[in-house]
């Protein structure tokens, strides 16, 4: 790790938006959301509610960004059509 001479000036963070590279997906210890695309109506409530911006909008469907998803389960709770289920981290995808 950096010495006092190598750390940035007063600990400033000089690369904008570098929080994105922080793999918060590693925090997911018990369960992860899994989308059933058949049931998804593309209402985007999950996209609105996700506190970490870990729902990726694609053409006509949504995807989970597991690099950042912390597994909080809000998306599954809010989904009105039951398209998102929380599954054990241990289960194969």
């Amino acid at each position: 790790m950096e010495t006092w001479e190598e750390v940035t000036f007063a600990g400033y963070i000089l690369e904008p938006g570098n929080a994105e590279s922080y793999k918060t997906g590693d925090w997911r210890s018990r369960q992860k959301p899994v989308i059933n695309q058949e049931k998804c109506t593309f209402c985007l409530l999950c996209w609105i509610y996700c506190p970490d911006g870990a729902i990726i909008r694609k053409e006509g469907e949504v995807e989970i960004d597991y690099y950042h998803c912390k597994g909080c389960g809000i998306c599954a709770y809010e989904c009105p059509s039951g398209a998102i289920r929380m599954r054990s981290e241990m289960e194969g995808e």
Binding site: M1, W4, E5, V7, F9, A10, G11, Y12, I13, P16
Partner: protein, 401 residues
């Protein structure tokens, strides 16, 4: 060269006049006795169009410092002023300003802290804030207030320093005392103090994050970097002082020596009390007593090398503090610091502390004559009986009113 203007200014007015010439972008301040005149004059300058600055009339000193931090982080030249309780209320933000390495300049009209309620002068306020990471400069008179307010911006904004600076002058004794002050022309100030060149200003085009979490894995490195910068700033301060002296015909040093040639004992003073002490030294010298005086201008960073040099060869030093550090081993912070600085010196002098002039108690030449008598006695006995003695206080153990 044309003779410079000499204006009748009290300490507060001298600070305000200097600040006006330094053209701050933002002034955020809350008036408090005895600093009030500074805030009044600066708001007049802004209202009258003589100073193009954003004047933020804040609701507290905590907000004053917060606003200065925000402004300075944006790259603005920011200034504030306070005293006593106001500085105490600012306390947590003082650390933020220095840790962000923001070159904010703040005048402090030194005033005692409550309680009992006291609006008069001592240095309880800034001495209590000595570990906040700010550079601290103490001034003896209005002329010094003027000269060092201008230098403070230059020091603070120097890229080798980038630290906030407190420019202190004694409440009432300097803040409300009118004297002749030789002022520089606006052009001279402009040539000495270029516009601020911020290093990492907040800028949406080039974002940076200031004040994020510093986890234990990073905090020590960031803090030690700050400590090194603070210690090293002394060289830059000396350099700037030299330039100021050469440019404007002044003769300031970091430590000022007064009649120290051949002195065996010396007073070590800080702030306005130095003037009255010099009178006492003159009287003692007239009687052939080997007495001198050292005035400390800079308390943070502490000028340890300069002080060791000045104090070597003396038999006794009487350190005149302007506050009490309650329960400490040496009465006041200055005495503690001086003693600590001398500890590893081979032929170190005896050092005795004299916390003096608390809460505005008027200190006269006679008080200093008594102190010097005490120092001469210690020199004769080559032994110290007490680490410190309060001066200007009725009752046993003290040197009377």
């Amino acid at each position: 060269m044309m003779a410079r203007k000499v204006l009748a200014l009290n300490g507060d007015e001298a600070a305000a006049y200097a600040v006006k010439q330094c053209k701050p972008d933002v002034i955020a301040a809350y008036p408090i006795t005895p600093q009030t005149i500074i805030v009044e004059r600066l708001s007049d300058f802004v209202a009258d169009g003589e100073l193009d600055a954003e004047f933020i009339a804040v609701e507290s000193e905590h907000s004053a410092m917060s606003a200065c931090i925000g402004a300075s982080a944006m790259g603005a030249r920011a200034y504030t002023a306070t005293a006593s309780q106001g500085l105490a209320l600012m306390y947590e933000m003082l650390f933020v300003a220095s840790s962000f390495r923001l070159p904010i300049v703040m005048s402090v009209a030194n005033r005692a802290l409550n309680s009992p309620l006291n609006i008069w002068n001592d240095m309880s306020d800034t001495m209590g804030a000595r570990d906040c990471g700010w550079i601290q400069i103490y001034n003896e008179n209005s002329q010094e207030v003027y000269d060092f307010t201008i230098q403070a911006f230059r020091i603070a904004e120097d890229h080798r320093v980038l630290l906030p600076v407190m420019v202190c002058h004694d409440g009432f004794v300097v803040s409300h005392s009118t004297e002749g002050v030789e002022v520089l022309s606006d052009g001279e100030v402009d040539s000495f103090l270029p516009p601020r060149d911020p290093v990492y200003p907040l800028d949406v085009e080039k974002p940076v994050t200031i004040g994020c979490v510093g986890v234990p894995e990073y905090y020590p490195e960031i803090k030690y970097q700050q400590e090194v910068a603070t210690k090293k700033s002394i060289e830059t301060i000396k350099e700037i002082l030299r330039e100021f002296n050469e440019s404007f015909g002044r003769s300031y040093g970091i430590v000022e020596e007064y009649r120290t040639d051949g002195a065996e004992v010396a007073l070590l003073t800080i702030g306005s009390i130095s003037g009255t002490a010099k009178e006492a030294v003159d009287e003692m010298r007239a009687e052939g007593k080997p007495v001198g005086l050292l005035k400390l201008r800079l308390f943070r960073p502490f000028p340890i090398e300069a002080l060791r040099k000045s104090l070597s060869g003396l038999k006794v030093v009487g350190v005149v503090d302007r506050h009490i550090s309650f329960g400490s081993c040496m009465g006041g912070a200055l005495n503690m610091e001086v003693r600590a600085a001398l500890y590893e010196m081979k032929d170190r002098p005896h050092v005795m502390g004299f916390p003096t002039g608390l809460g505005g108690r008027d200190i006269r030449v006679e008080h200093f004559l008594k102190i010097i008598d005490e120092l001469l006695m210690i020199a004769e006995q080559d032994a110290l009986e007490e680490e410190y003695k309060v001066v200007g206080c009725r009752g046993p153990g003290c040197i009377g009113p």
